[in-house]
């Protein structure tokens, strides 16, 4: 459908014209991960033990922090109103918007994660499960974050509120994401867990856009 293509094109163009929105969450991820060894010490054995958790938690926070650029500009310049008045199926427009946001904020994290995981001495065997988990998990985080962002975009003081709303909902993804890595390191089969995470992604893909649309309608009516 042409509206999906057009929306992807528009969002990616905007993202590449204001690269700060792409780079800042990445920089946050990079710096926050580097803080951990400084805080807990450089003991390789200990670092390798906490590596999956550290990478996942910082990736999760980075995704959440990147959400602000998803609807903020559109809300402020009125594009959101025009979007909601579009005769095209909103579900797909929103899906395209969120997907393009993931492409510029989530995907770079997935690509960068192995570098930082190996800096934290994550054993070789944990690398694929980490990346696979992030690849399936970060879109869920983006979708849920988009719901929270849509709910708070109309409010003037929304930064911390977003984290209060969204972080509890991120818990299952975190649990299974790190669980996948730890299971693999204990040589437990992870295909079932990946499938579970995949099922959660499908559920989020089906339901989150509906919640986002409802939330945007509320925010625009303010």
């Amino acid at each position: 459908m042409s509206i999906i293509k057009a929306t992807l094109r528009r969002e990616l163009l905007i993202a590449f014209r204001s690269p700060g929105d792409i780079i800042n969450p990445l920089m946050f991820f990079v710096i926050a991960v580097s803080l951990f060894p400084l805080g807990v010490g450089a003991d390789q054995a200990f670092l390798s033990e906490i590596a999956p958790g550290v990478v996942w938690v910082t990736a999760l926070l980075a995704v959440m922090l990147s959400m602000d650029s998803l609807f903020r500009a559109d809300y402020e310049d009125g594009s959101l109103e025009q979007l909601l008045l579009s005769p095209q199926p909103l579900y797909f427009i929103i899906l395209a918007k969120v997907s393009s946001h993931w492409l510029v904020s989530g995907l770079p994290l997935v690509i960068l994660a192995p570098v930082f995981a190996s800096m934290l001495a994550l054993p070789e065997g944990g690398m694929f499960p980490l990346v696979a988990g992030l690849l399936i998990g970060t879109p869920i985080l983006t979708l849920l974050g988009a719901v929270g962002m849509a709910l708070t975009v109309g409010l003037s003081r929304s930064g911390l509120l977003l984290s209060v709303l969204i972080l509890p909902l991120y818990i299952p993804v975190l649990v299974f994401g790190t669980g996948i890595v730890n299971s693999a390191l204990n040589s437990i089969d992870i295909s079932g867990l990946l499938a579970l995470l995949g099922a959660m992604l499908v559920l989020a893909l089906c339901l989150a856009p509906l919640a986002i649309i409802a939330a945007l309608r509320i925010s625009v009516s303010l």
Binding site: S79, Q82, L85, S86, P87, S221
Partner: protein
């Protein structure tokens, strides 16, 4: 086309309007009048479906507006206070997404329409480099591209210079003459060669019963 029955809306202990009935037919131009804060913008947003804090009935071609959402959105154009222009994008990029969002493939028209709004040469200019008046004209260009029957315009004359105001007035009467309809709010003294009907919100206001 658009029929409003017994519309009622209140805000902050104040009735903005009550028992509001009117019907906009093809080829009619309506102006919503009222003092500042009388709810002109609220009424327009209710009519176009952005605000649902009201009671009463809004019918689009006989069907309730909420149920006829897709048809309604296709045939209605809404211009709000905000320009709905992304400043990082060029005029052409903004408008081509707009066309796609309305399911239109008339992208070759974008250039012609921009020219008719005196934006020749600005197609590929990022919008942050344009003046407020030029940005406004990009927003207004959507009006022609939308192929909508009913135009709902909230203060369309802001930020336009004298020439722009004149051109917009001509555009509005042309739209009405060719069977289109218009509902607008404005503080500007309209000089249109077309009969204008009006809704006075000040007369419909009141205090909420204690």
């Amino acid at each position: 086309m658009l029929t409003v029955n017994n519309l009622y809306c209140e805000r902050d202990e104040r009735v903005l309007f009550q028992n509001l009935d009117f019907s906009v037919a093809e080829g009619e131009a309506w102006q919503i009048q009222g003092s500042n804060g009388s709810g002109k913008t609220t009424l327009l947003r209710i009519l176009c479906g952005l605000n649902d804090e009201f009671t009463g009935e809004i019918l689009w071609r006989g069907i309730e507006q909420r149920k006829a959402r897709q048809d309604f959105n296709r045939e209605v154009f809404y211009l709000g206070h905000a320009p709905a222009i992304n400043k990082a994008l060029t005029a052409k990029e903004n408008l081509s997404w707009y066309c796609a969002s309305r399911g239109l493939t008339n992208t070759d028209q974008i250039k012609t329409v921009l020219n008719s709004f005196n934006l020749y040469g600005y197609e590929d200019m990022p919008c942050y480099l344009m003046s407020a008046g030029q940005q406004r004209r990009v927003s207004l260009a959507r009006m022609l591209l939308s192929q909508a029957m009913l135009w709902m315009l909230d203060e369309p004359f802001t930020a336009l210079d004298k020439q722009g105001v004149l051109e917009l007035e001509v555009l509005l009467s042309e739209h009405a003459k060719t069977g289109g309809s218009i509902i607008l709010t404005t503080h500007h003294n309209l000089q249109m060669d077309y009969p204008l009907q009006s809704i006075d919100l000040d007369a419909l206001a009141g205090l909420v019963a204690a």
